[in-house]
């Protein structure tokens, strides 16, 4: 039953990668003008929106690193590695799409030596460089365990706490600075999205997206490998996500009240509809996740995580594209090349994640998880993970 479906997905993957490869070829041989629908009126398009979103997905990396290493809530340790890996892939996608989007990609290193500390973009460049390094260090234990390099492992464990602290600070700066990018366009970004609180929104939504991503990945890796996180942990994450989402939505609501922009919702415009879609996609999982029945049911939980992720995709695209359209005086829809490159980046990230889960100790080993599940079925109150199951993940 499973085999033909698997072949189907593999075919899709290859088609997407080939199309993306061809689109990339066009981009680097014909230039930005010929390979995108960008223009003087609309200089930032899908690739920038995608950059904003890929970093938001990485939000789980620093959140879980802080929870496990700083707050010492060791029960969440099994969640940490998949999230670090996701964050690393998210940042890799960011860097790839940045290089593709830059007019002169070979100068991507310029911010290292050419400084302008008044620029939000400069801050972002440094955060990306440093945090990607941190993520490599944070994920290295998984590779070192596999290789059996005990000495390097020991050394890494020794520096892990300062590395994690640096990672949390860098992420906080980076997530919020992506929102700060838009502080300088008060006359251009549609008022439903332009807010002096934009950096805060970006930061809090990255926390939410990171949590949703954890649930999303766990469900998929169970389908593919039978490797997944314990339901009790997922339920816990679902509860935290419900609270985080309500905090985020309350923040947006308060901000709109203070800025007095509710009347805009009465206008029959594209912005209004896409704004309502964004809010609905976030409010629905929030309301659902407050119900016990939902966060104990893996499929319902997964469904909520998908809604949340779609909500934040919509949010980032709204800020980057929808909200900038009216003031630009033009209409922008990405060219097929822009879509193909973006899709192939997503597909590559999925493929790399799949390979990593297959060959590296990312998720808790399958037998132990199953054993725990049956143990839980007998005694559902015993939510505490057993010690042996965690030994492989003690970085």
């Amino acid at each position: 039953m499973d085999k033909p479906r698997f072949g189907f997905w593999k075919t899709i993957l290859w088609v997407v990668l080939l199309l993306g490869g061809y689109a990339l070829l066009l981009r680097f041989t014909r230039g930005l003008g010929a390979s995108t629908n960008l223009s003087d009126e609309f200089p930032w398009g899908l690739w920038v929106g995608f950059k904003l979103f890929s970093v938001a997905l990485a939000g789980g990396g620093f959140t879980l690193a802080a929870v496990v290493h700083i707050f010492n809530l060791k029960r969440y340790r099994p969640v940490l590695r998949p999230m670090i890996l996701t964050a690393f892939l998210g940042y890799s996608m960011f860097i790839c799409s940045l290089i593709i989007d830059l007019g002169r990609p070979y100068r991507v290193w310029h911010p290292v030596v050419m400084w302008n500390d008044h620029s939000v973009m400069f801050e972002i460049a440094w955060c990306v460089m440093l945090y990607t390094t941190v993520l490599i260090l944070e994920f290295a234990p998984a590779v070192l365990e596999r290789l059996g390099w005990q000495k390097a492992l020991g050394w890494l464990r020794g520096v892990m706490v300062p590395v994690v602290i640096m990672g949390v600070i860098l992420s906080t700066l980076h997530q919020s600075s992506l929102g700060s990018l838009y502080l300088i366009v008060p006359g251009k970004l549609y008022p439903l999205w332009y807010s002096p609180l934009e950096p805060v929104f970006f930061f809090v939504s990255a926390l939410c997206a990171g949590l949703a991503m954890t649930i999303f990945e766990s469900w998929h890796s169970r389908k593919a490998f039978g490797k997944q996180l314990e339901q009790s942990l997922l339920t816990g994450l679902g509860r935290v996500l419900a609270v985080a989402l309500s905090f985020y939505l309350a923040l947006r609501l308060i901000d709109m009240v203070h800025r007095g922009v509710f009347h805009l919702l009465l206008l029959p415009r594209t912005e209004t509809y896409l704004f309502l879609l964004e809010i609905a996609l976030l409010a629905a999982p929030m309301l659902l996740l407050f119900r016990n029945r939902i966060h104990h049911d893996p499929t319902a939980l997964y469904f909520c995580s998908v809604l949340t992720l779609l909500g934040f995709v919509t949010n980032r695209m709204n800020v980057a594209i929808t909200g900038m359209e009216a003031s630009s005086g033009t209409y922008y829809f990405p060219k097929w090349t822009e879509l193909a490159v973006t899709m192939s980046l997503v597909a590559s990230a999925f493929a790399i994640f799949w390979l990593a889960v297959k060959y590296l100790p990312v998720f808790p080993a399958v037998q132990e998880t199953r054993a725990r599940q049956s143990a839980q079925a007998v005694a559902p109150s015993a939510a505490r993970p057993a010690v042996p199951e965690l030994t492989h993940a003690s970085s």
Binding site: T29, R30, G31, L32, G33, A34, L38, S39, D40, E41, P43, W44, A66, H69, I70, F71, N72, K74, D101, L102, G103, R104, P105, R107, V108, H110, P111, M114, W115, N116, D117, H118, S119, V120, M121, F122, E123, I124, A125, V161, I165, V168, I169, T172, L173, S176, S177, S180, L181, L183, I184, V185, P186, G187, K188, P199, M324
Partner: protein, 261 residues
Amino acid sequence: MSKALLYDATMCIGCKQCEQACATENKLPYNEGIAAEAKQSDHKYTAVLAKDDKFMRRLCMNCQDPACASACPVAALRKTAAGPVIYDEGRCMGCRYCMLACPFNVPKYEWGKLLPKVRKCTMCPDRVAAGKQTACAEICPTGATKFGERDDLIKEAQQRIRDNPSQYVKHIYGLNEVGGTSVLLLSSVPFEQFGYSADMLTEPMPLLTSRVLSKVPDVVTLGGVLLGGIWWITNRRVEVAAAEENEKKSSSDKRSEDKNG
């Protein structure tokens, strides 16, 4: 100190000689077709717009505190003390944040090229440095575009409005917009008619981001102290718990040993 341009639309006859002089100065092509293009682009840094019998120039405003220069991550765009906002194409990596940040939508991009540059009026920095006028001011047959000290030009603009109040909109565009610009405009019709926004902030745009950026060192310091502190407390708890566990174990081991023994 700093130089500026005063463009008085009431004196403009729409001859477009400024467009031509600008093209020559910047080594750009110019012909009838380009003259007919009513917008700034990568090959046209200034455009004379016409509406009925009214004219208006568009060019880089060369802001006193430019959004583009604050946005540029590699400082390719820079405000000089003399007035011009200049562009160093050797630094530019093509992120195009300047285009997004500019409140007047001035910077344009060479979309057709494989290795594009940002293109805009830079207020003839070489001429200004050599003590000359900008090309557009020099060629202007009616004096509609005038080059001079910014302070002097402001006084002159105020005087013109005072002398002929019926002829002008009572506003010098660029005096306070985005904290002031090095291009000042006078007109008999509202500036919005030619795409100059009426609700520009009067504070410099870079303040919007620098307010946030200035908090970065604080976030780093306080974040580091706070997270380090939290770790110190929680880790102590873990250590204590582990020690207690050990003690219990060893004492129970002893007890069992005693029993067995």
